[in-house]
């Protein structure tokens, strides 16, 4: 696409006298102002992006850790604990703890009856 003043096909539109010259100076002034502001902001912007990224990753890590731990902590029943615990991961001590917990539950229920 190539344009020149001659083939810009401006008819039938007209503009106020000196409009393009005035607009050109306004654009160049705005451009100079923008350029200096942009230069000043480049470093802080990069720094803030890096900080935002680090904060996001930390937040994701914390949420993931809390969510993983909560899956068993939320349990208030033995059935729930069984459902959320992978038996292959249980050590001998864990089995003992579970048995103790089950015995305690049975005792509690007997006392209630």
């Amino acid at each position: 696409m190539s344009y020149s003043k001659e083939n810009s096909n401006q008819k039938p539109f007209k503009t106020p006298e000196g409009f393009f010259e005035k607009q050109r100076s306004e654009i160049l002034a705005a451009m100079s102002e923008n350029h200096s502001v942009t230069k000043q902001r480049i470093l802080p912007r990069k720094l803030s992006r890096a900080l935002a990224l680090a904060a996001s990753l930390t937040a994701i890590g914390i949420i993931a850790a809390v969510w993983t731990n909560n899956s068993t902590e939320k349990c208030i029943s033995f059935a729930c604990l069984l459902e959320y615990t992978d038996f292959n991961d249980l050590s001998h001590d864990d089995y003992e703890t579970l048995e103790l917990w089950e015995e305690e539950l049975i005792d509690d229920e007997s006392e209630l009856l």
């Binding site: 696409m1 539109f13 654009i27």
Partner: protein, 192 residues
């Protein structure tokens, strides 16, 4: 992008898009102003008149054209040389124009209202037939209007219009056809 010193840069003839973009991004004020003047020499008027057809009046076209060139400067780092620089600037101006139409539109004006506005416009210098076609264009829905102007008045090919409006070529052809169908009766109504 390769680094090049542009402190004493002067274009020899019309620059390539790559040279122009490098000069426009230069830290040197003189080089940058010179490059922007070259850009404005070529595109200021075509962009203004494109927006004038799209928006219908001088004030809106002037605002949108100015914002377009400021956006060109602030978004220059996003220009990926996938199209010509001029096509990319036309794309920005078209989107700027469409955005202005959406923000300012309160009610849809009919053909007669647009015609009366154009005929009383101090900066419109067309005869009855010309006023009718421009008024008819202004009654089109915004995207259809942009397609019709880019195709009929600017003479762009469908590929360039596709880039400017983010629409497929097939949809553009249908849009242009429907625009012509809508405009035709408005032009003929004067003859009958």
């Amino acid at each position: 992008m390769h680094q090049k010193s542009y402190t004493t840069f002067k274009f020899n003839g019309y620059p390539t898009d790559r040279d122009l973009v490098l000069a426009l991004s230069s830290d040197d004020d003189t080089t940058r102003n010179h490059a922007f003047n070259v850009l404005l020499d070529t595109l200021q008027q075509p962009i203004y008149f494109h927006l004038r057809r799209l928006l219908g009046n001088h004030e809106d076209a002037a605002d949108a054209a100015q914002t377009t060139f400021i956006k060109v400067h602030t978004s220059l780092h996003t220009f990926a040389f996938k199209s010509k620089l001029s096509s990319w600037i036309f794309t920005i101006s078209t989107r700027q124009g469409l955005d202005l139409i959406r923000r300012r539109r309160v009610t849809e004006d009919d053909f007669e209202t647009h015609l009366a506005c154009l005929q009383s416009d101090l900066y419109f210098d067309g005869d009855e037939a010309t006023a009718r076609i421009h008024a008819a264009v202004l009654t089109l829905p915004d995207k259809q209007r942009a397609v019709f102007i880019l195709k009929y008045f600017e003479g762009l090919d469908y590929k360039s219009i596709s880039e400017a409006t983010s629409t497929s070529v097939g949809a553009l052809k249908a849009s242009y056809y429907h625009a012509k169908q809508k405009i035709k009766p408005l032009l003929l109504s004067n003859v009958i």
